[in-house]
């Protein structure tokens, strides 16, 4: 039996070991470190199924900062699985790293590029467990800071540098809002622990205006993480400019962790009547903006960026309804299909580009990749028998039960909008002729296996969602509030 906090410690130590070992080994092919990272994370993922039951929640000490409830365990596994797929993608991306990092050594930068996602993973796992604002702040910053480096990694590429600087400034700005918001919440309640804040709020003897001010600032910071409108301005530029595996990591890992924290923070604050209305407005704006701005895009990474904003909108519908299980299932489907699309983008971009026209006739160059992209796109669009459809189904189901008709109507209209831009990619792949000199794309067995696994996952969870729903059963404290 393993105590839960050991998971993060093992991940962190393994990352440090790899980073140190990398510094002293020059001759070896650095891709060995990616494999070692994958093996380590798989071991931790397996270890997460043999956890010792957590002690009852305490009001002081370590367990007042850290929880090991089913929601936390679920998102720890989520973070580990994401990072494993990101490292597999990073191996395929290695040639682009070599071109993008200055240095006399032809392998300069590779080892760090494989080690940094492991630190991000530790941060994401701590975020999943954080139930105190101090812990939320520190783990969020660990994630953000490792992303500063990762986003800017291929610094010979001017677009990447620009994306990195934009991410740096806007992310630091959101940190400023988060900290100042927490300050005001502390000033009103005198607590940083979410459960104790909830106890204070339940007594109803506090000053509403400063508390709402503080909560709004925290919401701005979390809205930045999950890419909700109007805090999404960084998303298209950063997603387009960052190295592709990092873009995938941002759009899955960072967003999922942001949603866990949002669900946890909303727990105590949901008794304020203004909070629900505010979230409905943000969800509606996010859905409309994400879907309509995606329509004219010609760069596939930018298209996926707007699509990720749109998906944040669907997830926010789930958050508005406090449907923790529906949000978790949607995020799993989102992980599978987004990572699948980005894995194909990495492989195709190796000898093509990232514009949609570069995907013309992909089916002749690599039927496997075209098939994978087809599955990813139809799942993102939400066609039945895929995980994407079932995710939207659970979210809309929860919304109808809670009487959020307006959001359901906007949601259904924007899904229709989504069909147009996702099918635009499919049309390019299957109906347009390939460029004459386009080579056949080579795929390594590891990537082929990973892509196969993601496709299988999309179809399995598309018809048999039970394993995910049971993983959160007995329901997490967040999910319990759904029955109010």
């Amino acid at each position: 039996m393993i105590p839960t906090p050991a998971l993060e410690i093992v991940v962190l130590v393994w990352g440090l070991v790899l980073l140190l070992a990398e510094a002293f080994v020059d001759k070896l092919d650095k891709r060995v470190f990616a494999i070692a990272g994958i093996v380590g994370l798989v071991a931790v993922l397996l270890g997460s199924f043999f956890l010792a039951p957590p002690p009852p929640a305490a009001s002081t000490g370590f367990w007042s900062f850290y929880t090991a409830d089913p929601l936390a365990i679920f998102f720890k596994r989520f973070a580990l699985a994401t990072t494993i797929f990101i490292l597999i993608m990073a191996i395929d991306y290695a040639p682009a790293i070599r071109m993008g990092v200055p240095g006399a050594n032809p392998q300069a930068g590779l080892g760090e590029f494989f080690a940094l996602p492991i630190f991000t993973c530790a941060g994401l796992m701590w975020m999943a467990s954080a139930i105190d604002f101090v812990m939320i702040f520190v783990s969020l910053e660990l994630v953000t800071m490792s992303f500063y480096v990762l986003v800017t990694f291929t610094r010979r590429n001017p677009a990447t540098l620009e994306a990195g600087v934009k991410y740096l400034i806007l992310s630091a700005l959101s940190t400023g809002f988060l900290v100042y918001g927490i300050t005001w919440i502390f000033g009103v309640t005198g607590e940083t622990n979410l459960a104790r804040i909830g106890a204070v709020l339940a007594r109803q003897d506090f000053d509403h205006v400063p508390l709402l001010f503080g909560f709004a600032l925290v919401l701005v910071a979390l809205g930045f993480k999950i890419a909700a409108v109007p805090f999404q301005i960084w998303v298209p530029d950063v997603y387009q400019g960052a190295p592709t595996p990092v873009t995938a990591f941002l759009s899955v890992g960072s967003k999922a962790a942001g949603f866990v924290v949002l669900l946890r923070v909303l727990g105590p604050f949901s008794i304020l009547p203004q909070v629900g209305k505010l979230l409905v407005v943000i969800a509606a704006l996010t859905l409309i903006y994400g879907n309509f701005a995606a329509l004219p895009q010609t760069n596939l990474k930018r298209l996926l960026a707007y699509s990720s904003i749109a998906h944040a909108g669907y997830l926010l519908i789930g958050v508005v309804c406090f449907a923790g299980t529906a949000v978790a299932f949607y995020l799993v489907g989102y992980l599978l299909m987004t990572l699948l699309c980005f894995a194909v983008v990495v492989l195709v971009a190796a000898d093509g580009g990232e514009q949609i026209e570069d995907y013309s006739g992909l089916v002749r160059r690599s039927p496997f990749l075209a098939g994978a992209m087809l599955v990813g796109m139809v799942s993102l669009a939400g066609i039945p028998f895929t995980a994407g459809f079932l995710g939207k189904f659970f979210i809309f189901d929860a919304a109808i039960r809670q009487g959020q008709t307006l959001l359901v109507v906007i949601g259904v209209i924007t899904v229709g909008c989504g069909f147009y831009y996702y099918l635009k990619v499919i049309r390019a792949m299957f109906w347009l002729p390939p460029p004459n000199d386009a080579p056949v794309i080579q795929i390594s067995p590891l990537s082929r296996g990973a892509i196969g696994l993601l496709i299988a996952g999309i179809f399995v969870f598309g018809v048999y969602p039970q394993p995910i729903l049971n993983a959160l059963n007995p329901p997490a404290p967040v999910a319990v509030t759904a029955g109010r």
Binding site: F133, V134, F137, V138, E141, M145, Y148, V149, T152, R155, R156, P158, A159, L161, E162, A163, G164, V165, K166, L168, I169, A172, L173, T175, G176, F177, V179, Y180, I182, T183, W184, F186, G187, G190, E191, T192, P236, D237, Q240, G241, R302
Partner: protein, 106 residues
């Protein structure tokens, strides 16, 4: 006698100056400095809240003071990484003005 309100006013002023600096200034180093100002505004009001929220024994609420140490540490790490990114930008572009970095446009 300095009251809690005075501290909160100064802290709010610092936060506003910082935010205005981020929005209005064009030099990335200055923008970055303004961001640090925003974090320090939070530090000031946290310490003020801590001092003025005494418990039955007259001791301050130490949660906030511990949080301040975390904020200072994280801000230092952020500066280290952030300045490295800005230096890399300057080496590649020979500029640190935000108007000059706009190749990624729709």
């Amino acid at each position: 006698m300095v009251t809690l309100g005075d501290y909160l006013f100064v802290s709010g002023l610092l936060f506003t100056i910082g935010f205005a600096g981020v929005l209005l200034r064009r030099n990335i180093i200055i923008i970055f400095m303004s961001l640090e100002l925003m974090l320090n505004a939070a530090n000031l009001s946290l310490v003020a809240f801590s001092r003025f929220r005494t418990d039955s024994l007259g001791l301050p609420n130490y949660h906030a003071q511990v949080f301040v140490f975390f904020i200072i540490t994280v801000a230092a790490a952020e500066v280290a990484v952030g300045l490295a990114v800005i230096v890399a930008l300057y080496r590649a572009r020979r500029t640190i003005h935000v108007e000059d970095i706009s190749t990624l446009k729709y």
